[in-house]
Symmetry: C2
Subunit: 216 residues, 2 copies
């Protein structure tokens, strides 16, 4: 335990150093020597914990995504009504990332460009994990009768897709817009999905459809 704790401390020190340096220099200008110096360790030590510079940077992103997943799990386990959990889940998922990139706007763009293929795979993994947590929240809602959906996993994936355009991957934080605008958009999409557009009073819909199809 003490050994494992010390090991985790060193690993986290390295990742903390990476966070600070990415903010200052960006990925390419940041050297492994820089990271070691900033973390107060030797360069060889980095390679005891990470196979490459690239994996160090990915480790930093992994850690942030792990923190996010923990927050999403807490929301799912909370006392909120299921529909409110969904809203809060989607909001947190987007705004956590929005806030995280605030000080890295240009350097994260450069980082994504530099390691795009492997990062794309990682991102899919993060989203899969988030999707499973959301599916759990949807299942909870179905059990208490608030939701009607037959395949929570499929719906969860679609809900994440529906809000992915607001994530700071494709657009930088500047292009995404103001924080409150992003929040409003996420909540707007969440409510639109929860409530739906089609009226549900069956007779009105049938009549409306018949009226629509009647030739003039």
């Amino acid at each position: 335990m003490r050994q494992a704790t010390l090991e985790k401390d060193i690993r986290d020190s390295i990742l903390d150093a990476v966070g600070r340096l990415l903010g200052h220099y960006g990925y390419k200008k940041m050297t492994v020597d820089d990271i070691a110096h900033e973390a107060g360790i030797g360069k060889g030590t980095i390679y005891l914990y990470f196979p490459s510079k690239e994996e160090v940077a990915l480790g930093w992103i992994d850690r942030a995504n792990k923190e996010l997943l923990e927050q999403l799990n807490l929301i799912t386990a909370s006392d909120l009504p299921p529909d409110e959990r969904i809203r809060r889940f989607l909001l947190t998922r987007v705004m956590f990332r929005f806030d995280s990139v605030q000080q890295f706007a240009q350097s994260l763009d450069e980082l994504y460009v530099a390691m795009r293929p492997i990062f794309h795979a990682r991102r899919n993994r993060y989203h899969d994990a988030e999707s499973q947590v959301l599916a759990h929240a949807l299942a909870q809602g179905r059990v208490v009768g608030i939701f009607h959906c037959e395949d929570e996993n499929a719906v969860a994936r679609l809900m994440l897709l529906a809000t992915n355009s607001l994530l700071p991957y494709s657009l930088s934080a500047g292009e995404l817009g103001q924080r409150d605008e992003i929040e409003a958009k996420v909540l707007g999409i969440a409510d639109m999905i929860l409530n739906g557009l089609l009226r549900r009073d069956t007779s009105a819909c049938v009549i409306a459809r018949i009226v629509h199809e009647k030739p003039e």
Copy 2:
């Protein structure tokens, strides 16, 4: 008219040439000389129709988006039931772009990188125009009683946002996945938005919420 027709022919010849060259070389390697030669005109002629090389490329993208908007308008004006128009609208909006970039996968990435700020503004314009067309389709549905939404413009914008992550801007066509997968995702999001997740029988919902909130 004959004058305007000839002028439009030259402009379209230039844009057709751009399309062919972008597929082969990408934006940076394609020269203004190349475009002129491919179009069978002199280099000076390009500058009678476009202020710069960059605007030539943007003109090519503009033309594609104009074609898309025409298709979306046709869908809105069709005889389909309003909910089917919505599905078809969103599907066409994504798949038209997906199909358009098939042969330009890497060169379009390079093009977006090269002119990102101005392209971002153009993209917003395209999406605004599409949003207005969709709002019109939503208004039609409300008039015949199929939809319930109070602000078609806001809902239209949210619906486009909900499917923007499937557009080939942030992800290349390869990263987006197979065509049929994209189609299924778009239709899945469309149906999820149209139908909603929350059950609508009011008494069941109230009881479900009360049961949920009741302390054990």
